[in-house]
Amino acid sequence: MNVTFPPLLALLLFPGGLFLLVSGMVFEYIDRKLIARFQNRVGPRWFQPLADFVKLLAKEEVIPTGTNRILFVALPIVALTAALTAALSVPLFGFKPVFSYPADLIATLYLLSTMTLCIGLAGANTEDRFSIVGATRALTQLFSYEAPFLLALLGPAIVLGTWNIGEINQSATNTLWFIVSQPIGFLVALIGLMGKLELPPFDAPEAETEIVAGALTEYSGRGYALFRIGRDVELVIGLTLISAFFLGGFTTPLDFLWKTLLLLLVTAALQSLFARLRIDQTVGLWWKIGAILVLVQLLLIILGTQLSPLVSRIFGG
């Protein structure tokens, strides 16, 4: 849909800003409810993510001794800001991206990684041993999924010849869905998103039975609330990106909804199917299988795009 919003409105209310925060909570609710139903539990009530958020905001924020106070307070804010900034170049809810520029795909992906980086720094900033182990694991995981995730999303970009998310979304509606032509890329991107968000089975960085809450162990109150809502926002943006790239893009909010919710259903199922991977297993999985598969696919794509004009010139000529 080609609706242009006034910049201030887009930043603060819709489709970025407040509306994005709320939809993050809705997505979190759906995710939690689905997993609960898969596990034969009742699951949370519809306002639970909001209630959690409000409760955490109202709570006292304890800043432990031995930490850099500025970093401790600033990191959650930076993380949330980065996630919200990333939303600007993404066709949220099927509307045209608010702020679009050439190759914004790369910038958006880096903005999405800022969250993990902030969590890692937040863990390393405290003296808590669980936090330090959690931070090490979070950063290790970042280095394992990031490259395959990026390469997987580059697949459609290379085929369509543009690195602009909005244009990719537009063009994807006119071509064969990339989930059909690049199934490996789709799988790697989806699983990469789960790794990015530290969802099970990639939740080693915050494995509660080992290291309590991982890097965020020392966070309470506002800081923790911001990290959580930031992650929800990333979930929405990540699902938007993948469905725009691989599920044929979308131009209406309705299209957006069913495609992202379908993906959410798949990730929820994946989350409840597996036992937690150890961090060494995660790294092994990504570098031994994920990266290689994606590289092979990328090679095929490049060969295909380079060779097809040649082939058509010879035979079609």
């Binding site: 034969n40 539990r41 409840s272 937690r276 991977l277 150890r278």
Partner: protein, 392 residues
């Protein structure tokens, strides 16, 4: 730079930690993710029950000892009752012995299914946790059906049991067993075939046969390493004489084997429960017990879900016991945890710890040494006062 000082990074687990359902303290020295040293410290939930039972009559003691453990409450009461009966030279009637075994096996089912869920949760497999606990409700309901209680069934009295199994209850139990057997088959498939789960259990926490013997491991932990140790088989007690069970062994010694052995024990329990219900001997439920137990001492051994449970009982001829010493199975298995932990990853620690099905509060003891400065033997009241002062 002081090179001699070796920097160690210790990850403390407990006394309060999400992985622990009871307070215990573990310190894992890690090099990156690899554990190089492990120590355990217990004693956070000492309750003074051994002392407490000395101040109570034999009948009251039965109810106190049943509360040593919330998961294996029946075996504690059974061990106590069997010991007291041995001292008093009273033989409980065969129907009572069979019902004791029946409740004991129902309890084993609930304990093993509880463990299955906890162990899966420690490995981050929450779906298995939730589903196995859902199915565990079946056996909890059956226990409530036969005894009226879900946790402390209070099935035993000195000299027999106080619950009977009616025809309607029998049908319910049989129906429950069919359901649980089908579910257990599914769980067996999950723990032996699920790739991600096997990645966390196969070849992890391996304890060789020799190690298990040397470290004195008992129960399913030992049986998973091929050590044929099961009191039910070695020296049958209660109903196990008439309704014997087969020992379940595995040679692998890893975490997967502990899952397999415990699930196989579930199948064995279903089988023996069906057999007991089929051929439940008729007759009285309890024999007459004297109020004063004759002087003497004895050892009573039973197989708890976690391994051999040992009671040393001494009577001085009054209506109160002179000394009761309880050695619970978890105590024997701690050494095996600390031994197998070394060399594994930090992420494996919760599962290795859960692999022995630990029970913390039942193995906490306090020892005071009689010295010239401290000549008195403490009585129950002193111990109680000490506890109140200590936690003030």
């Amino acid at each position: 730079m002081d090179n001699k000082k070796i920097e160690t990074f210790v990850v403390p687990i407990g006394p309060q930690h999400p992985a622990l359902k009871e307070p215990g303290h573990f310190e894992f020295t890690v090099d990156g993710e690899i554990v190089t040293d492990a120590t355990a410290r217990l004693g956070f939930v000492h309750r003074g029950m051994e002392k407490g039972v000395e101040d109570r009559t034999w009948v009251q003691g039965l109810y106190l000892m049943e509360r040593v453990c919330g998961i294996c409450s029946h075996v504690h009461a059974m061990a106590f009752a069997l010991g007291a009966e041995k001292l008093a030279n009273v033989q409980a009637p065969p129907r009572a012995q069979a019902i004791r075994e029946l409740v004991g096996e129902l309890e084993r089912i609930h304990s093993h299914m509880l463990w299955l869920g906890v162990a899966a949760h420690e490995g981050g497999f929450d779906t298995l946790f939730m589903l196995s606990w859902r199915d565990r409700e079946t056996v909890m309901d059956l226990l409530e059906l036969v005894s009226g209680n879900r946790v402390n069934y209070s099935a035993n009295v000195l000299g027999g049991v106080k619950i009977d199994i009616s025809a309607a209850q029998k049908d319910e139990i049989l129906k429950g067993m069919d359901f649980l057997e089908e579910r257990s088959r599914h769980y067996m498939k999950v723990v032996t075939e699920d790739e991600t789960f096997l990645g966390r259990t196969r070849k992890i926490g391996v304890m060789a046969y020799e190690d298990a013997r040397v470290l004195g491991a008992i129960g399913p932990t030992a049986r998973a390493s091929g050590v044929a140790r099961d009191v039910r088989v070695e020296s049958p007690y209660a109903g196990y004489v008439d309704f014997p069970v087969n020992i379940q062994l595995s040679d692998a010694g890893d975490l997967e084997a502990r899952f397999v052995v415990r699930i196989n024990e579930l199948f064995e329990s279903y089988r023996v429960i069906r057999e007991i219900l089929e051929k439940l001997p008729p007759g009285d439920l309890a024999a007459r017990m004297p109020r004063r137990i004759p002087e003497g001492e004895t050892i009573s051994r039973v197989e708890a879900p976690r391994g051999e449970l040992l009671y040393f009982m001494k009577s001085n001829g009054t209506d109160k016991p002179e000394r009761i010493k309880v050695r619970t199975p978890s105590l024997c298995n701690w050494a095996s945890v600390l031994q197998t932990a070394i060399g594994h990853k930090l992420a494996d620690m919760p599962m290795i710890l859960a692999g022995i099905d630990p029970c913390f509060s039942c193995n906490d003891r306090m020892v005071t040494i009689k010295t010239p400065a401290n000549p008195d033997v403490w009585d129950w009241e002193t111990l109680r006062q000490f506890g109140i002062e200590y936690y003030k």
